[in-house]
Amino acid sequence: MKTIFGFFAAVISVTLLFTGAVLADETHYRVDVEGMNCPFCAYGIEKKLKRLDGVEQVEVDLTHGQFWLKVDDAITMSEETVSTIVRDAGFTFKGLTRHDEPHSQSDDSE
């Protein structure tokens, strides 16, 4: 019984350690854009953001005018680069903010 308990404790510890390591390897950025009101309009920005170094995933939230980026933790997103992409697509850049949580766990009202 003591052996079984010890085995599960070890598995849980390793799992927690591994999960923590994975979470520590990524961060999230939110890009706020004004003027984007249809799905077709979002594609030009999404395509360019996906090409940036360290960007692993881009999620578009059309309702709130936001792009959520999952980014390698070693990369720091440049506000100048992102704002240029937004402006070149014909829209207005409102800000770039770093988040520890992905979009699904963030408060929309931010």
Partner: protein, 294 residues
Amino acid sequence: MSSVRCSIRFALLLLFANGTSAAPITFNTALPVAKGEFINRELLILVRSDDAVRNLDVTALASVLGYGINGDLAIFGMLPYVNKEMQVTVGGARVRRSSKGFGDASMFARYTFFKQNASNHTFRIAAFGGVKAPTGDDNETDTLGRLPTPLQSGSGSWDGFGGVVSTYQTLAFEIDAQLSYTAKGKANDFEGGNELRLDGSFQYRLLPRTLSRGTPAFVYAVIEANVLHGSRNRRFGNPDQNSGGTSIFLSPGLQYVNKRLILEGSIQLPVSQDLNGTALENDYVARLGFRWNF
């Protein structure tokens, strides 16, 4: 001769078969094309016109390519493939004449000189201008000789056009308005009448009824109005009394829009056609097509 009027109008319809974002089906928009991005639009256009003794059917596939120079400036090129068939009753006999081939190519630029972006809407005004080049064959013949100018695949003339277009877009709806002018050139002793055109479009999002996170595909109901005024054509320097006039059309349609693709269709119906002389009236103009980002 009256078919000339119909053909000129058809050329004008093709001129604004450009493609950008979710936008009007029968004319332009002020919405942007992102820098370095291409947009392709393919549009099938069916035009039917007839009266007691004549009928003209035109089928065209218009291919449009748009490219974003920057967030405010975009350029477009359009090349149609056209198939025209006219049947006339002469002395109780039916005479059929037709042509098919690539038509006249158009190129134009559009610059957004005013834009107001906010969290839930955008308002833009853009100017555009371009030329239609005589790339289509304007000297086709059949067993009866040279085809009349309206039946040729190309006009043979260089035409210039320009105008102003504005767009107000929210997540729920979009309104577009355009004022444009086309100046016709002369070729083969024929000069088409210049055209003044006013267009309006209202697009209302039917689906999804409510928006949540993400980027759902939209379905829009579209209703458009087009007012066209054309001056008389001139042949050998003399005005053609059976050409020119004013027409008003209404075009209901549907658009499906996702991030990379737009599917669309509309039917343009005449509300009023106050044409000079015996100019041939349009019965309908049907459009079916798609646009995609790449």
